[in-house]
Symmetry: C2
Subunit: 634 residues, 2 copies
């Protein structure tokens, strides 16, 4: 940023601030405008000044005390304990003098914040440090802890990075924005390898970068000239953490990308968890992982978190706003405002439109949205799911019947999302006596993923959030949940033991511990294999679901080939995806409705039938893109 | 090319050649396979060997005598004069010892060639030199002469260039061809700045690179990542010489492109003529030309001519075949065969489907053609042209009426195409007494463009070709045609003289001498301004045609603004473009019919209405692309 720009910005900020408040410096850090002041205590008095400034300057604004204006850490620590009620359960205080900030980790962050931020402001007034609060997860999560420690340790490098990004974002766009284009790099007429490029005359944004379940090697078309070289990309946006959207994000850093990733905090942590697991599965299966954990750390270090509803500048000519998508923890419908009122594009990401046990329904309300790139997983004419009550009853029946013949029910599930939904269903069913109480074993990353859910309860549905924050009501802490942490030996014991329920990854039977469970329990007619989620074309899950009982386990265990004798069942209604009705309603109830919709993230039939239906029903211009096409808007 | 490849190729060629023929070396020059032999006289005996080899090897094949096997030039010259009848009118012999070739320039090349190439073979047998024939244009053309001299002078550099291109073309494609894409860099929902990119995993081909008449500055989107950097483009194909397809080709060489341009010989020469004129118009109007004549020469030097019907390798995975398009001299419907049987794309370029006085109708017969990018100039529902007889009668009437009131008829026309058509119409009308004989003045590049037509009579319609080759029947040599070569003074004289007819460029009244004619003759109600060609949106021609009489001449002459009092008439039916019926028939009579058609090169309504009509009538998938979009096939 030139001195000139800086002066202008300083002047603009000073003009907006009451005269008794002193502005010593103004700087960009990533999308945020940071205001340094000698009078942090004065700033803290006025609860509205921050939001007023943000509105006027149309930026995310942070106030920081200028160096030398704060109390000493020991004084400050005493003061904080004085102000915050003991009930808050403060676990840790972390003073960062370079940014004048103290991180307060507490079990009940609400009590540190106070109503309307009253307590936080009181702290800042008293000590001159900016107070930020983070929650101690009710279930210990090594992922959340590792990410937090890592980011603390990398704080200085990260600050430099944020300043670099800040300059880039807040520069003037050099060219008029008279077009915006979307190029499909994957995920068209298929489920998997989600990856899209938004380009304007000034900017390139990559949305998602996933793998394709069941089709290793079919990766997004990143080498085409629109995307290559990768360092020509200005920013990456991640809609949610599932591997078909996130798996190849770290790869970008291997091939020269060094810019930001914008996503929600839980998505960042889940992405770390799932990509590390992706690497370990690959190496267990004897494949060469496409990148190393080093690049996963890089991806985490380069992530700039955004909260639902916050308008964030991510380029000189693009503003991003993420909204709840109802699909998994942290999943986001991502709204891009291009140019100064020029055009608006929504990426639905994966959505669930009705509320579920875990999440509120997907947001479909935007100031403007002319085009939408929309998922179509269940876009076929007959893709209606049974309603939740019915689905749950059916699950009860299947488990009861299996239990009665002394069998075990194995449920393949994504570690993130469907597992937690099922855990809530099963916990309630046992509590209410709908199924007998028996052990529910969690295999793979499910327990850890659950812990991450409890670290971000503000992303969950209201009632569930309350229950999680009260230890004795936290459904995820129920006794019957047991982690499979003893490897193959423990699995063999469980398999030969009394009936139980097993939730195991991967959700589409493409690898991971579910392969061992197939081998151990599949040949026995007393057991049941129960599918509760979408099985993509090309996956073993899909093949089994459509009647194949001769399966290949791909060199796992002793038996390469296996004949399944167990009962095979599918129950819909637990999907993290909207069904056909939900997809139609998502569009039908949008206001204003987009002019153009691209139907992606669904097989040939699903995208074809959904795009026809939306066109006929709502008279929207719809397309069923292929990979490698470019659409220009408007 | 590696030694290994060379050996293999040498072996393959030797295997196909009868044992008495000696093959000393085999090399690629551009798309051609050049076979060197110590026994050129033996090769020449067998009239079929060349075509047999071409068919077997699927290459364009040239035979060259190995150095030291030929007669001396003086011996050879005597021999040639002995063999060729005097009637042939040999003008010049040019011996190129590096390639063992003698260029014979003759007034009647047919007599040098002999029936089925008999005489040519006889020459080669006698002298050991490869004989090539070129025609002395019946009307002297400085363009044709300059281009020939320039290419002769650059022969050595050109040979190196051809070897470089040859290696590139005949290398193995490194990636499987599992997609081919077309990106629209211009000419969508508009007429002008034609430019399209064909890409495969291995190759980028640019088709056309024109300007937009009436909208200077609206150039093709060459800076987008699909096309940039320009040296990532492997080859350029030019469908015809009009500036809206060719004007910015030389610019490519300014910005780093150094590869081949594939087009017909007449298009090469006309492109040279028109782009040099484009530069001179720009500098006369005080604009900075985007490139210099140096780059025009470069473009000519890099042109590899193709003949109608010849299958030419232009990349490891793309073969080009050009066919008559009926639009202007050398214009080509361009067929791209992608991969080994993978896909076929036709670019119609500008077409006229019915035969005209000048040309046969556009070719629409291909072995396979799955997709077509098609012009839509007259694609609107009501864009039917009156038939030629009626149109000609109407022109006679208008000229007669103007003549009777002592007025002059001014016809703005493209130098290339419409002018020659009109010349034929007017010459016949005067010969048959339909209009009085009076001077027909040709202003701008029209005379020179006409001369180029006579240099390539094989590109004209049969009857016309015969007439041109007999001096006393050559319609373009009629006495009434007079070149305006005395500048503004001569124009003032003509304007104040007896009634006449004036054919003047530019065809859409966007600059050039027509501006002077408007100024001199426009204010007088006795004169007529007669439009016979398409006037694109944004041009002065379109504004006048739609009734505007107050026009600005843009600083030309004394009067900046001018009120037209002359009669304004438009007669359709002379267009070089198919009308709506012709466009429909072009598609309807294609066999096989393409699955997908992109309607381009027409305004919003024309492309919309044509694409709807083709879809409804022929059940073809049609699109009305925007600029900057990418379509993937299949």
């Amino acid at each position: 940023m030139s001195d000139h720009d800086n002066t202008t910005l300083h002047d603009r900020v000073t003009a907006e601030v009451p005269p008794e408040l002193d502005v010593t410096d103004v700087q960009y850090e990533g999308p945020d405008l940071v205001i340094y002041t000698n009078t942090p205590r004065e700033f803290a008095k006025d609860g509205d000044i921050l939001s007023t400034l943000a509105r006027t300057l149309r930026k995310r604004v942070t106030i920081r005390p200028a160096p030398g204006t704060q109390s000493s850490p020991s004084e400050a620590e005493a003061k904080i304990h004085e102000i915050v009620p003991d009930d808050a359960g403060i676990q840790n205080l972390d003073f960062h003098s370079t940014v004048g900030e103290v991180l307060i980790e507490a079990k009940k962050p609400g009590l540190v914040i106070g109503s309307y931020g009253q307590t936080l402001r009181e702290i800042t007034q008293a000590i001159g440090w900016n107070a930020e609060v983070i929650r101690t997860p009710p279930i210990e999560s090594s992922t959340v802890e590792n990410v937090r420690n890592f980011l603390t340790q990398e704080r200085d490098e990260r600050r430099e990075f944020l300043e670099r990004v800040g300059e880039q974002i807040h520069g003037e766009p050099t060219k008029d924005v008279d077009w915006v284009r979307v190029t499909t790099l994957g995920c068209c007429r298929e489920v998997g390898r989600a990856s899209f490029l938004i380009h304007t005359p000034n900017t390139k944004i990559l949305v998602d970068c996933g793998d394709k379940p069941g089709a290793e090697g079919e990766v997004p078309y990143l080498h085409v000239p629109e995307a290559a070289p990768l360092n020509s990309i200005d920013a990456v946006v991640l809609t949610h953490a599932h591997l078909d959207h996130s798996a190849l994000l770290p790869l970008l850093f291997k091939y020269g990308y060094d810019g930001p990733i914008y996503t929600t905090e839980p998505t960042r942590d889940l992405m770390g968890l799932l990509t590390l697991d992706y690497l370990s599965v690959a190496s267990k299966e004897g494949r060469t992982p496409p990148y190393s954990s080093e690049q996963v750390r890089k991806a985490i270090k380069r992530t700039i978190p955004v909260k639902y509803g916050d308008v964030t500048d991510i380029a000189p000519d693009i503003k991003l706003t993420m909204h709840n998508a109802g699909h998994i923890l942290g999943s986001a419908v991502s709204h891009f405002h291009v140019g100064n009122g020029f055009y608006n594009i929504v990426f639905s990401g994966d959505i669930h439109y009705e509320p579920t046990r875990l999440f509120n329904g997907a947001v479909n309300d935007f100031p403007r949205a002319e085009a939408m790139i929309m998922e179509s997983t269940y876009g076929r004419r007959n893709d209606y799911q049974t309603d939740t009550d019915e689905s749950e009853q059916r699950v009860h029946e299947i488990i009861n019947e299996t239990y009665e013949q002394d069998g075990t029910t194995v449920i393949p599930a994504f570690a993130v999302g469907r597992s937690q939904e099922l855990m809530l269903v099963l916990e309630e069913a046992m509590r209410e006596g709908d199924i007998p109480t028996m052990p529910i074993y969690l295999d793979g990353m499910i327990r850890e993923a659950t812990a991450i859910h409890t670290a971000y309860p503000e992303y969950l549905r209201d009632g569930l959030r309350q229950r999680i924050l009260h230890e004795d009501e936290n459904p995820f802490l129920a006794d019957q949940f047991q982690q499979v942490d003893g490897g193959q030996e423990m699995r063999e014991e469980i398999a030969s033991d009394d009936p139980s329920i097993i939730l195991s990854t991967s959700g589409m039977v493409t690898g991971g511990p579910i392969m061992s469970w197939l081998e151990l329990l599949g040949p026995d007619a007393d057991n049941t294999l129960l599918f509760v989620g979408y099985q993509a074309e090309g996956t073993l899950g899909r093949r089994i679901e459509s009647g194949r009982t001769e399966v290949s386990l791909n060199g796992r265990g002793n038996a390469d080939r296996l004949t399944l004798a167990c009962r095979i069942e599918s129950v819909s209604g637990f999907s993290g995806h909207a069904d056909r009705a939900g997809l139609e309603e998502f569009v039908g109830e949008m206001n204003p409705r987009p002019e153009t919709i691209l139907c992606v993230h669904g097989d040939d039939q699903a995208t074809d039938q959904l795009s026809s239906a939306l066109y006929q029903k709502y008279n929207v211009r719809t397309y069923q893109p292929k990979n490698l096409e470019t659409f220009r808007f408007p």
